[in-house]
Every structure is written in C-alpha cells, then in structure tokens.
Subunit: 369 residues, 2 copies
C-alpha cells in the first residue's frame, strides 16, 4: 500500500490511491473500472504495485472468437486485423460486441516494489483476470497466428494491477492442461470451502454435471473436504460411463459414489433420481452451462443446505423465485470465480487425482481432434 | 406425512407421494411443478396435507397488471374478462405473458389432517407463495372489482399445499400495511441470519437502498442482529432526509448510523463514499431494483465479507464476473425470499420500530395519492 501518499516509481510515474484496481489506467470514460472502460492506458512503464508481463499467447474467450469469426466470414486476415484494431484502439483485448476477453500466458518482465502478487521476474504465468480489463500492447502484428482458433501466439506486453490474479504455470504438466484447469479453478475452491464448513457431519454432496471439467474437479474437492457421499448427475449414459470409470486416488472410492442419469432442467425428475441415490444433498453444485437448472438444484437440496451455482446460464430470478415457490430454506451462492489459492488447489487436485486428470485429458483430446 | 401409502381424505380423494409440492394438482403438462404448469386442478376438495382458503382479495403482481392494462387499453371490462379467462382456463392466476402472479388474502376454510402449515379454520391469512402456482377458482365474476388497480376484491377459493407459505394477518395493523411488510419479509430475515452469523465482531453493514421498504426493514433487522455500524446508501438528498429522520426504538441510534448519497451503479463512486463513512462493509445488502449495482456492492464489501442480493434486477453473470475481475473474496448470496419465520420477524420489527413503520406508511400514502 502506498499509504495514499503520491510517490515516484522508478519509471518516474506517480502512484495514486485506488491503483490496486487499475483506476489510474482508465483513459475514458473517466472514473469507471478498467473492465467498463472504453480505453485503457497500456504503456509499458509500471506503477509501483503493478507487474509487466512479456506476452506469449492470448486465449480469446470462445464467445468473442466466434463473433469475430462470424463477422468476418472466417477470413483469417480480416480477423487478425480486427483483433489488432481492437487492441490498439482500446488498449485491451475486449471484444466490443460480446464484451468478453479471455486470458493470456507470458513471462514476468518487471515487478513493481509494492506489488502484492508474489511474482518474480522470469516466472511463467497465466492471468486469471479477464483480458477485458488487462492493459495490452501487441508488437508482432500477430504474425504467428493463423486466425483460425482462439489460441493466439503473440508478442507484446500486458500489465497486472495490485488486485489482478495470476498463477504460475506448473513445470510438471502441459500448459494446455494447466490452463484448462485454471479456467475452472474457482469451482473446486468454493466447493471445498462450503463442504468443509457444512453443519452436516460427512455431508452428502450432489454435483450436477459431474463428468465435466468444473464438475469433476469439484467432486474431488468435495471428497478432500470431507464429503460423506458424493452423487454425480449426468445427462446420459456416455457421461455416466466416463464418470464411473474415474477412480479416486484413495483406492476406496470412485470419483463419485453414485452416478445418476437425469435431465437437470426437470426439477421433479432430477430431485426424485437424487433421492433414490441417497439424497437430498446437503450441498448441491451446479456445473452445467444449460439454462433452467435452478429449480432442480433447489429441490435436490435438503432444508438448511446450500446450492452453489457455477453455471453462467444461471438466472438470478429463477433461483430466487424458485426457492420461494417451494418454501426451500436453502442458501444459494453465486459462484465467485475467485477464492484465494484457487489455482494452486486445482493444480494439486489434478496432480493427485488421476481420475480427474483423465477427464480433463479426454476433453482436451476431443477438442483438438 | 402420509408415509407414501395412498389414503382416502374425507372428500374421498387419494393422496400421493410428492403432494407437498402440489404435483398431484398439475393437469398439464404432466410431471412439472405447479408454477411451470399450464393448467392446475383447482377443485375445492382437498388432499390430506392441503388447506382451502375462502378468498377475499387478490393482489396482482404489478408487472402482470401493467401488461393487462396495456393490452386492453385500460378498458376495465376487458381486463376483468381477461383475468376471469386466465383463472378459468389455467386454474390459477398466472399471466401467460409475464409469467407472474401475485398474492391473495382470505380466511381458512378447511385444514387437511396432515397439513404442516399450522393454520386453523377461521384464520385470516395472506399467501406468501405466488398466485402463479396456487390453485384458484373465482365465483363472483369479479363483480366488486373496478379493473383499475392490482387490488382485486373477489370471492372464490384457493388451495395451499404442504410446502406453501402463508402468514396470519395481524390484528393490530391495517391489512395494507401488513401485506406491504410481508411482501418484502425475506430480506430482513436473511439479513438477520447473515449479520448474526458474521465472523466479524459488531459487523459493519451497508444497506444499498436503505430508505425503501426492504432496505429499512433490513436495517432494523441488522441492528437487532448485532450490527456495529449501519451505513445507508440512497440516491439523492430527499431519500437521505427521510432516512435521517427515521429513529431507532432504542433511543440511541438512528435507523442507520450514517447516510451516504451515491449512485449504486457507479462502483468507484459508491465504494469510495462508503469508505469515507467507515466502510468497507462486512455485510452489504442490495435492496434497489435498478440494474448494474453488482460491482458497487462487491467493491463496497471487505475481503471475506458477504453481499446479499435482494434486487430482482441483479445479473448473475455481472455478480460472478464482477467479483473475479477485482479479486474480491466475497460470499455472494441470491436473496431467497423464504426463511422460516420471516413474516413474523418482519411484523415484529414494524411493531417495534416506529422509524421503519413511518417509512412504510409514507410509501403506502404516496401510492394511494
């Protein structure tokens, strides 16, 4: 903290209070957060609590790349030109249509003396805050990008604020696997916290979408946090098989204790199926990106229990009114993607749990086919 | 509970498992919850865990009445005909366009032997579950309704399920005040629970929209639950004055300890103003029905704190991504409108706190002018 006193950094710039959020980098409109800004100051000289990163790769948000691809009929040169234009005019890679960004990987180039992020020059990192709020300059004209996928090899620099989030990439696994894990690492971290503080002894945990990335990691986190019984909900037999094959590292359990096939959008169907498998759950974790799962999750949860909504397809009003409509005294959490230590916890789960790693590897292989 | 064994009620009907949710009243489509159903069975004969109510008044949801009023150009006879048509064809008053219902008041007419609601024949009650899931028959052709407001005097019957929510209307206050209190009673109940279980000693509580109905009740609930400092956020000076005039019954405090004027949609503005008033808050309660308040609430909350979103204008994704974007380790709760005992708690707060009652009375008077 700079104590509110303006001081010069080694680059001759001046820190101002509030800089932990990057407010000093906002050029227009004045006074908004970097994510809401039209244009950021992306100069390489850093404030005392900032970190500058030499960028190696951008991972564009899927929705953003899809929009660019459609708007330019898949013309790679036009897509490249569009990305360069966005970054040079806005000082960040935030698609003006979708509003979304993505993440990046790179090497730490300079660390301000007041940076709280714990990074060292030379660390290979991934940013876990969105590109939509990260000051960015591209210097190679995207010469090495084919314009055909969200993976953008690139040279340039980016800036992290005091309250940015970045994680060191582990040496013992491919970057693609690590990024895929970090992309969903908020889910296992919050699941771990909720299960370990549950008032129920050995709580029953239901994971809706347990054969997916965030679902399988959350199942492993629930086990580590002391869940007594874990029930995985999947939409069809193929996913059920995938999940049944995933073993837990303790040799005793599967990744889940029971697998239930049900349509998560059918409240009566999913809650009845869960009840037959030992439910209702003390903690229900929603990890499927399908609209309409609120009622099923609520009905599947015991009175006094907790539902964690990680799906971005969750409707706030459907959750609020759904619980009231069935007199459900359940705590409903908005799945916050940030819990301190979340990336580390998720990477450790992947190292320890071959069942989860297998699910991730399979998803990566399918995607690259 | 009927133990899953089919048994005859005194009306010769048969109970089936699952009836606490009213599934046995769903005619089409089969297998969905009553709220999602197109048509309910609204016959007067009750299942063993049901309650039948002689209806006195419907309070249509504001959005529903507005839609009907616009669709029929304010023609009272046409609006009446539309409501009668909806209720007779659907067996419930659920506006097919808005999906919303409302609530009703009436007198308990028959209580099934297995009803868990604790009601007696003759009790004057309000339903706190939506009309959109309540079996309803209108028998007076709405002869006493002028078609000009949401308040619909009416004769007929309605049915409450085992898991419905109803509250007795108190004898010591006008029905209009009691209904107005019950309409928002989930907010003070959940605020009370969160503040009293906060890990912070004498937690600081910020109420965004503190001069409104749910906001003022939540402020009083926070005080009762042990809040150390309560900061009320309002949009302009007129509301600030209203709030400053509202005293607490203990004679020592105001309803809030400090009043801050700020635009809740401006994250930097509202969090800076709160910080000057003694923030950040350990618990932030969002009670304003305006979109875009997620970021301000998150930034106004200390790390490790809790945000409760009661506004139906809350965006799930804005909350989830907003917290991640500023590395905010805050617990974010979807404001569940149901907490056991919520109506009783709110009515007792109104009885005890003249400052809150004054705010309610003023809102009611403004509305009836």
């Amino acid at each position: 903290m700079t104590g509110g006193v303006a001081r010069a950094s080694r680059n001759g710039q001046v820190s101002t209070p509030g800089s932990a959020l990057g407010l000093h980098r906002v050029l227009e409109p004045a006074g908004v957060l970097p994510q809401a800004a039209w244009r950021l100051d992306s100069k390489p000289a850093i404030w005392p609590d900032e970190v500058r990163v030499a960028v190696q790769r951008l991972n564009l948000d899927a929705a953003s790349f899809r929009q660019l691809h459609q708007a330019h009929d898949g013309d790679a040169a036009a897509i490249k030109a569009a990305v360069l234009e966005i970054v040079s005019s806005r000082g960040k890679m935030q698609n003006p249509v979708t509003g979304s960004g993505g993440m990046l990987t790179g090497v730490v180039d300079e660390v301000g003396p007041d940076s709280p992020l714990g990074l060292q020059v030379g660390d290979k990192i991934a940013t876990l805050v969105s590109l939509s709020l990260t000051p960015l300059v591209i210097t190679d004209g995207l010469a090495r990008w084919d314009g055909k996928s969200e993976q953008v090899p690139c040279e340039g620099h980016a800036v992290l604020f005091g309250r940015s989030i970045a994680a060191k990439l582990p040496d013992d696994m491919p970057a693609e696997l690590a990024l895929s894990v970090m992309d969903v690492c908020g889910a296992p971290a919050l699941t771990h916290r909720v299960v370990s503080s549950s008032p129920a002894e050995s709580p029953t945990v239901a994971i809706i979408g347990a054969a997916g990335k965030s679902g399988s990691l959350s199942a492993a986190a629930a086990r580590q946090a002391g869940a007594g019984r874990i029930i995985g909900v999947v939409p069809h037999e193929a996913e059920a098989q995938l999940l049944r094959q995933a073993k837990s590292s303790d040799g005793e359990h599967g990744l889940v204790d029971d697998v239930v096939i049900a349509d998560a959008r059918d409240p009566v169907g999913v809650s009845s199926a869960l009840e037959r498998a030992g439910g209702p759950a003390d903690v229900t974790v929603v990890c499927v990106d399908v609209p309409g799962c609120e009622g099923g999750a609520i009905l599947s949860t015991a009175q006094g229990g907790t539902v964690i909504f990680f799906s971005m397809a969750t409707s706030f009003t459907a959750a609020a009114l759904g619980a009231e409509g069935v007199a459900a005294d359940v705590t409903m959490l908005v799945g916050n993607g940030y819990v301190p230590g979340h990336a580390q916890l998720a990477i450790e789960l992947i190292r320890a749990e071959p069942g989860v790693r297998g699910i991730f590897q399979r998803r990566i292989d399918e995607h690259s086919e």
